[in-house]
């Protein structure tokens, strides 16, 4: 009798079931680790019963967070470098923060070999959890920490070709070894107004000041792709635009200058002039494309930056905005990300802090690959901006800092006033080796007038550290 239909259906079923088996294996191999790291997976909480929390180690091998278990089985967490890595590691109690939170799941999993596991189980000892290897570099972080000294502010350094975060520093900070004391302090009236636990690098909103001129210039280039090179302006140190008076720093007159010179000397008047020619709607679209007012491709906690100009804006809002005052607010992380995109030919690599997961024997359990977020600007635009920003460090506002350095830098300085009394924050954002960019550094130092430490000087210390051991 006719059995062909049964055969057809049976082969189809075998195919579907084999596909399902393959799917489950695929899930286990490629999806499961991410899925089970979900904070809603209640199984995570019970891991610590059998596993001693793993370490956090810098990319150059320094242990910055570790666990010790005493004879009674009580585990304590310690941070050998105290304040230096406070905002990188975060803390392990009170809801956790930083890498202690982001890497929690991995540090509570143990991938040591079965032989060792069995012995530990025989002895009824806890297994050693996996270690989180962070992208942060000990030497660079320490250099940034020392350079900042007593100043408040933030430093973030990112490798533009990969998105690896090499420095993440925020001051003021705290000693994570004393988290119990600090947590109690934070509950007091005095503590509630303290910002020591705020990671300014990712959550601090600042006016971008003159660093924003890079964005204004980008927009000008976009709107005048054929003629921007012919731009010329006569600066007399002061000018009134739509009723708003704009001064250059110390009312210095720059006289006749090109677009390149305007950026190099950070000429406010010239940029206000550029701003008066821009299309508001297009400016808004461009800035939204640069991730203002939107989510950033970053896994940790951060705050969104804001840029408020649009078609309905009044003309008198623009002169301040284009020179980075006005209502624009940006985090050091975001400013660094924009610079990363410029340094990487327009393509932004997603910044990340966890490089890989190792078991206690040093074997790699999981490696996190660089991920491209996409193109923020064209490679031609990136090339022009890089070229012009090189001039900033060659003969412009940052040249005195980098004079005689073994490396070249392209970047932009900034002084952003935050009140009407002339108090300001000092910015630097830029990258070294413009031909083949190595490292993006973004610094903001608060109260420049009080301490006299400039962002550019701090950035230089980080670049120096980078090239001294290279």
């Amino acid at each position: 009798m006719k059995n062909k239909p049964i055969l057809v259906i049976t082969y189809s079923m075998i195919f579907v079931f084999v596909a399902m088996v393959c799917y489950v294996i695929y899930f286990m191999e490629f999806k499961a680790e991410t899925v089970i790291a979900n904070s809603r997976n209640i199984r995570q909480d019970s891991f610590s019963e059998n596993v001693e929390r793993g370490d956090i180690i810098t990319t150059d091998g320094k242990v910055i967070a570790t666990s010790k278990t005493d004879e009674e089985g009580n585990t304590t967490r310690s941070y050998p470098y105290g304040n230096t890595f406070a905002h990188v590691t975060g803390y392990d109690k009170y809801g956790k923060s930083g890498l202690e939170l982001e890497g929690n799941f991995y540090m509570l999993r143990s991938h040591i070999n079965i032989f060792e596991k069995t012995i530990k189980e025989l002895k009824e000892e806890k297994n050693r959890g996996d270690n989180v290897i962070t992208t942060v570099d000990y030497d660079l972080q320490t250099a940034a920490y020392n350079a900042m000294g007593y100043c408040e502010g933030a430093v973030i350094a990112i490798e533009p070709s990969t998105g690896k975060i090499r420095v993440m520093l925020s001051k003021p900070d705290y000693n994570p070894n004393e988290i119990d004391y600090i947590w109690n302090y934070m509950q007091t009236e005095e503590g509630q107004s303290s910002t020591i636990m705020l990671n300014r690098a990712t959550q601090g909103l600042y006016a971008p000041g003159s660093t924003f001129k890079v964005m204004t210039m980008l927009e000008y280039i976009r709107e005048n792709p054929d003629t921007y090179d012919n731009y010329s302006y006569d600066c007399y140190g002061e000018e009134i635009f739509t009723g708003v008076s704009i001064h250059c720093n110390d009312d210095t007159a720059h006289y006749t200058e090109s677009l390149r010179d305007s950026l190099a000397y950070s000429c406010n008047v010239s940029f206000a002039n550029i701003g008066s020619e821009l299309d508001y709607g297009q400016f808004r679209t461009s800035m939204d494309g640069m991730l203002f007012n939107s989510e950033l491709p970053y896994d940790g906690d951060y705050v969104k930056s804001s840029f408020e100009i649009d078609e309905s804006s009044r003309d008198d809002e623009l002169p301040q905005t284009v020179i980075g005052q006005g209502n624009t607010q940006i985090t050091p992380l975001h400013n660094a990300m924009i610079m990363c995109a410029i340094a990487n030919g327009g393509v932004l690599m997603k910044p990340y802090l966890i490089e890989r997961i190792e078991n206690d024997d040093g074997g790699t359990v999981q490696r996190f690959k660089s991920k491209s977020y996409g193109e923020l600007l064209s490679s031609d635009e990136a090339e022009v901006l890089t070229d012009y920003m090189s001039s900033v460090c060659e003969y412009g506002t940052a040249s005195s800092y980098f004079y005689g350095s073994s490396y070249k830098v392209a970047g932009k300085t900034g002084t952003a006033e935050y009140d009407n009394e002339g108090n300001c924050n000092s910015w630097f954002v830029g990258f070294s080796n413009p031909e083949n960019p190595d490292l993006v550094v973004c610094v903001v130092v608060e109260d420049y007038n009080t301490y006299g430490v400039s962002g550019t000087w701090v950035a230089k210390q980080v670049f120096d550290a980078y090239y001294s051991h290279k």
Partner: protein, 466 residues
């Protein structure tokens, strides 16, 4: 020490599970009678080892003596079943009895871990069902009228399905009105109606000579599915529909019925999903959304699947070991999501093997359907194979996020009085078909033998040299 024993047991269970699965397929492929017998006996040994190690682990973890008693009773019933069934029906399939016992025992084990009282209840009902369904092959081989009762199956089936709409008797659960409650016993009429449905379709197809006959058959079958859709039991409607299409394809041997059937089904689902997406199909749309990204809807429609994937992923290939995971946190882990619980604590390797064992059961069903010559039995056997495998596919695919979840049980493993009883009836009917077929073959052989002897005697008498 205790830990070590449990750990070693865990890996031994995995090894024997792999061996059992391999045997399932090698028995299917084996043609040598002696070889088959040896392998079947080995399979029984594996079942005992796996089951023993599971209960040993659970006893060590819980230290409760009632587990040991329960274990002994289970093994006793399993042995009686495997030995007695085959000695009564010498022509029955031993591979099928092995698999029946094995799947039931795995179900009892996991249920014991999750909820002891449910395991006891499942065991009692399954044992009663095993006893009663043991008569099915006997009844089938005596009662030849089975194939002439198509009208009865149709009417009884639709009537039974409609009972869920009787106020006070039927009730709704998880968005589908497909349960009835008699005293303290909750039943899903659909589980029994599917048996009647296959018989009904088989009867009609045997008699169908014209396109008109097929049309009448199609209309009545459509009523079944329409009632299921009204009950919002889409999983069951899908099972019925695919079974129906496959049976028509078998009866007609024309691929157009398969292709057309699938096309019509997909079209109907899309049309229904767009027309009734806020009413009748609302909870279906929720499940489809949850399937696309369960973690996005973790607090609503995606909760079950998210928890299931957490369990499977965290347990890993080797599993946490019984009682060492959090399988009891998976929603409805005792019935629809029992596979996730098994994966978490007994390991994904065990789960993968279970998927393949289920497939092998289907292949053995299809094998029987291919051998059988009488159309009615052939269609019925094939229909039941499809019922079984589609239900398995919907369950396993749903809990692993391979396909959207439809809320059906895993045959014989999941908790559910109606589910386990109806599956045992189906297994018994397949055994019945196989017994009838084998008896016929034997009769045929004997007839042939007799004729040959007669011929030989005739030849000898005529003096022709043999």
């Amino acid at each position: 020490m205790l830990n070590i024993i449990c750990q070693v047991s865990k890996y031994l269970i995995l090894i024997f599970m792999v061996l059992y699965t391999v045997k399932c397929f090698s028995i299917l492929l084996s043609t040598d009678e002696k070889d088959r017998k040896k392998k079947l006996n080995k399979q029984i040994v594996y079942v005992f080892i796996i089951h023993f190690l599971c209960y040993l682990t659970m006893y060590l973890r819980q230290g409760s003596v009632k587990l040991l008693i329960f274990y002994a009773v289970q093994i006793f019933v399993a042995v009686i079943y495997m030995v007695v069934f085959h000695s009564i029906y010498k022509e029955s399939s031993r591979l099928l009895t092995n698999n029946t016992a094995f799947l039931l025992l795995i179900g009892y084990t996991m249920l014991t871990r999750l909820d002891y009282s449910m395991a006891i209840k499942q065991f009692i009902f399954a044992t009663i069902a095993l006893f009663i369904t043991a008569f099915i092959p006997y009844i089938m081989s005596r009662w030849k009228n089975l194939r002439n009762m198509g009208v009865f199956y149709g009417i009884a089936g639709i009537f039974l399905l409609l009972t869920v709409f009787i106020p006070g008797l039927g009730y709704e659960s998880y968005g589908s009105r497909n349960w009835i409650k008699i005293g303290s016993l909750s039943l899903q009429p659909m589980e029994f109606v599917k048996i009647l449905f296959v018989f009904f379709v088989a009867c009609m197809l045997v008699r169908a000579n014209t396109l008109g006959d097929i049309m009448v058959n199609a209309i009545i079958s459509a009523i079944f599915m329409l009632v299921l859709v009204l009950e919002k039991d889409l999983g069951a409607a899908v099972i019925f529909y695919i079974t129906y299409v496959c049976m028509v394809y078998l009866a007609t041997s024309r691929p157009i019925f398969l292709i057309g059937g699938i096309g019509l089904g997909v079209g109907a689902v899309i049309a229904a999903a767009t027309l009734f997406k806020d009413t009748l199909f609302y909870h279906v749309m929720v499940r489809v959304e949850a399937w696309k990204d369960p973690f996005k809807f973790i607090d609503t429609g995606g909760y079950q699947v998210s928890q299931s994937l957490f369990a499977i992923g965290t347990g890993g290939y080797a599993g946490t070991g019984l009682y060492m995971g959090k399988a009891d946190y998976i929603p409805v882990s005792e019935s629809d999501f029992i596979f996730s619980a098994i994966c978490e604590e007994m390991g994904v390797i065990f789960g993968l093997c279970l998927i393949l064992v289920m497939l092998s059961v289907y292949i053995s069903f299809a094998n029987i359907a291919m051998k059988v010559r009488q159309p009615f039995y052939k269609y019925a056997a094939f229909g039941y194979s499809i019922l079984f495998i589609i239900q398995t596919l919907l369950n396993l695919g749903g809990v692993t996020k391979f396909i959207p979840s439809t809320g059906v049980t895993l045959p014989l493993v999941s908790y559910g009085v109606s589910s386990v009883t109806s599956t045992l009836v189906i297994f018994a009917i397949i055994q019945g078909v196989y017994v009838i077929h084998n008896k016929e073959v034997i009769k045929h052989e004997k007839e042939k033998e007799r004729l040959r002897k007669q011929q030989a005697a005739l030849n000898a008498g005529a003096g022709i040299p043999g």
